[in-house]
């Protein structure tokens, strides 16, 4: 069972993602921000991270860089309310991005692709 870490400062998003992704058969853990995120990843070894870009205390794109520097092969999917982040070239270090929605089919599709890419090497 693949383990997914959802990082988002909005509780209802964490709940929604957890519930729906667990129904898909994933093991889901959550974090509400970037505090000690790298230590958490190191300890819990998720197979994929779903990362919110705009959190109150953290910039998701900076966190993405931190994750890439330490766990350069770990799939990361950016989750965002707006797609303006693409103006920042840092976003190319993500595997995919999804625009936040209550319909998670796109997120689920991208998770599947990212996990397949990881295991096909």
């Amino acid at each position: 069972m693949a383990k997914i870490l959802v990082v988002d400062d909005e509780e209802h998003i964490r709940l929604l993602y957890s519930e729906e992704l667990r129904e898909e058969g994933y093991d889901v853990i959550t974090a509400e921000g970037g505090y000690r995120l790298l230590e958490r990843i190191d300890r819990e070894r998720p197979d994929l991270v779903v990362l919110d870009i705009k959190m109150v205390d953290y910039d998701g794109l900076d966190l993405l860089q931190d994750i890439r520097n330490k766990f350069y092969d770990l799939p990361v999917i950016l989750s965002t309310a707006y797609d303006t982040f693409k103006e920042d070239m840092k976003s190319i270090a993500a595997d995919f991005y999804v625009v936040k929605s209550f319909d998670l089919s796109e997120l689920k599709r991208k998770i599947k692709m990212a996990l397949e890419a990881r295991t096909s090497e």
Binding site: K86, A93, M113
Partner: protein, 412 residues
Amino acid sequence: MKKSSRLAYEENPEKVERAEVVVGISSYDSAEFIGHTAEQAARGLLDYFGSKNSVIINVDSDSGDGTKEVFLGTTTEVPKIYLSTPPGTKGAGHNLRNLVTKAAELKAQAVIVVNAAFKSITPRWIKNLGEPIFGGFSFVSPLYLRHKCEGVLTSGIIYPLTRVLYGRRVRQPNGGDFAFGMTMAETYMHHPTGGEKAVLQTGVDVWMTTLAINQAVPICQSFVGRPKTQRSPDGVMPQVSAFVDVVGTVFDLMGFFQERWQKVRWSKPTAVFGFGMGEADAPPPLEVSEADLYRVFLQGFSQYQALWESLLDDKTFNKLTEIKNLPAAHFSFPSELWARIVFRYAVAHRNQVTDRQTLLESLLPIFHGKSLSFVKKTERMSIQQAEEYIESECMIFEEMKSYLAADWQGKR
């Protein structure tokens, strides 16, 4: 002057025998720019690798314009070595082969390669390309801020194809500026495909990147900031020889790495190094002649129609003919069609359905048609929007990979 073991001419006025960091400047008739490139490289080495022994090596293809004299005559605080191919031997691949051999002799830890034709190199390029090697990466590929229509050979075929094959998003797999450590140097010196004619010419850059991707060593991309401005062989209409060498090298390597790429399903990103450099300038304007692209595409029909008809399946060929009949103002080349044609050509290249030079040359007019469509579609787009468009085209390549695999296995 003496000859090295690889028959390259060498001048080593400061008798350098050891260097931890090597900057290699590849050149051919580059007297106009090489002094500037050497100065910037020296400043980068002093500013960012000052505690290490370093050397700048000009690997030249026996230039006749005084490149050697300008290089050795440029005052730098870092020692310099000049290496050249023997008279009559030219090619970027020969240059890089000489560089790798010399770097191994010097027991280097990091080799940073820059092209002498650049006007835009800064000392930060040296830092950003070299530093990841000392941070544990084995290969560093460049990320440029380019005009959206510069480098269509890369964005239109080399990047999508490399990405779909090997599952790594390396945006500039054909970039002439990169860095590698000695694990990769060993691979480059001994790889069985290293002596291919195209690899010894312009195909060498994509060859080096592809080997690094397939070596399963840590690789990253490094943002080199300022716009790439050069005498570009990879503008909106690449030279025939460059197109044949580069695309031919990718097709050749598909055969060598076929076991691996057929197992790869989707792509994943590659780590990025070098952000936080401040605002980059906008890239300089690029003159694009839509009329020339259209003309060359149409000329392809008179020259290669019979070959295309024999190579492509009916549906694909008919679609290509439909496009031919579109008025220039409404010209559009669907990405799915382009992916299908590239995949078919890769298989035809493997099967040697005709001589490979002719085969690759016959793809060029179709490529110009595809490029014209890209130019028109991205006309009003920002660089970022054009990048997103390229990403969406890459996804089409990835979604159609099963078509390629089936064709490759003879199941179509």
